[in-house]
Amino acid sequence: MNKSIRKISLALLLILVLTAVVLMSGCASEKQDSTGSRDQGKEPYKIGAVLETSGNSSSLGVPERDTLLMLVENLNQNGGIDGHPVELTILDNKSDETEAVMAVKKLIDMEVLAVLGCASSGPSMAMINTVQNEKVPMVSMAAASSIVEPVNERQWVFKTAQSDIVTVKNIIAYLQGQGLTKVAFLYMNNAYGDGGKVAFTAAAKESGIEVVTEEKFEASDNDMTPQLTKVKASGAQAAIVWAIPPSASIITKNFRDLGLSIPLIHSHGVGNQKFIELAQGTADGVILPIGKLAVVSQIPDSDPQKEVLESYIADYQAKYNTPPNSFGGYASDAFNLVVNAIEKAGPDRIAIRDELEKNTSGFIGVSGVFNISPQDHNGLDVDSMVLVQIEGDQWKLID
């Protein structure tokens, strides 16, 4: 009896260890989702991506990976770029800065033409040095403005997510419209939160809005009530939170539990359904600026992005049977910008960079209309976002 238990247990352990080994070795080269077929005559063009497909920021990285896989498949089915199939390699950075740098070095060794990534600000920042030194064009999908600024130290870096400043301008406009002048600012203790804090404090000062209390929390925190009690005591007229789920959801829950009645304004970091789901009904009433993707049915037909948005949603829905979110949209824009540049400039890193910087104007993407210039490597303006309020777990456009 005892012996048979031992045998079964040993077998179980063996399976466990084997899966772990597979996983470990898988992580190093994980998602070598290389797609692209070689049976076509022309030599493939290599593009690399470094994404947060596991770890804290995976709610951003996973939809981006799915979007990229979908787009590259569609592109190759339609003959690739001038008959050259695109070979896309996606590496996982496990939401970690060091892993991101290792991954991007690996991609550069593979001689990719351009690098897409990362989904979040910290790992994106970490990769900048490497791509600058190796002179490889990089298109990030993260928010922090500092990823592309100062531009003279970031010649090779572009990004598709709206910079913090775009979100901040939208929030400030809302506060001014409502006549709110004293606000509390709460942010995640990472590059995303810091970026938001810097941009917001600067903009608030200019527009005469006073930040009465400023609090931070960790991405892994389970309870932000201590920070919120300070907000309660500070007499703030509105609370602005700069975070991504799950901590953004937890702080929303705590906020409602504490019975705070001031408006709760989030950043675009909560622009996915997961935020609402994890907040378990407490997300109602949250106000946030968001890309138009989430409210496409509510924006007027005259909007230049409407067609692009609808076709992206239809494609994604057909492939994955779930609606896409704004993070997937950033990936779609990054991919299309790079493909567009390769198409026009050919397989040369310097030419691709120049093409991205000089000839991207009026490029209609999912996240907005891009007007990239030597001074602005993001190229999105305030009108790339709209303000929404969550009602009955749905995004509702605020007029």
Binding site: I5, R6, I8, S9, L10, L12, L13, L16, V17, T19, A20, L23, M24, T53, S54, G55, S58, S59, V62, N189, E215, K216, F217, E218, S220, D221, N222, D223, T225, P226, Q227, T229, K230, K232, A233, P245, P246, S249, I250, D257, L258, G259, K274, L278, Q280
Partner: protein, 291 residues
Amino acid sequence: MSDQLLQLLFTGLTLGSIYSLIALALVTTFKVTGILNLAQGEFVAIGALLAISLYATGIPMFAAFILAIILVAIMGGCLERAAIHPARRASGLTLIIITLGLSISLRGLALLIWGTDTYSLPAFSQGGPLIIGGAVLNPQSFWILGLAVITLSVLYAFLGLTYAGKAVKAAVINRTAARLVGINPNTISFWAFVGSGALGAAAGIFIAPVTMSTYDMGFMLAIKGFVAAVIGGLNNIGGAVLGGLLLGVLESYSAGLISSGLKDGLAIIILLVVLMVKPHGILGLLGERKI
């Protein structure tokens, strides 16, 4: 201001009760087997994730919980037989490293099964938070604290009042002598892992409505639980609960009154201070023996 202090106390107690449960599971295994089970955090994570998945299939919440607890208990037992038992004559350090290996493997397994998504459970009791003296208390805290108190009482009763409990104590005090009078320490070690699996899973399920669950939630929880256990003396089940509550309250006050950046660092600072000033913990007894 007094509102704020009370609020921070309540929040601290909620956090603290979570740490207490993890510390309790750690200390129980340590007390009985002398092994510091670093995979304890993974028992918690897998328990919570299993319960959430089972609940999502439509079976009643209570049944899902019981099933998850039983499954993790079986897993705990199997792991003990497969990994700890064959190395039972190795040194304590070797055994700890084995549990570290188990912890990494289990986390990998959870990643394969559940992916990187965050999951959550609804709160056990309906209705919003309670308001006491101007401060808000999450009712889930009562469930968590209740589980800690019940586990504590059951452990005390078991060790103090039952024959099996006395056998466990005997094996802890002197493994060889216990063997001579017919107690089998190997069986005890097996049941300790079954028990810590069940307790870990229960803890995971009870805290899931507050903390939400991800495949890697166990790591940070295990660290906090370990600090709580060390504050309590590592060998003292009552001390583990007190240590957890103390850590939670201190974290809450430091985040709320001094700086929120201090919160996670505080656990490590306390760990260092306790180890330097009172290496046996605040309630730990001097000269306790381990097997």
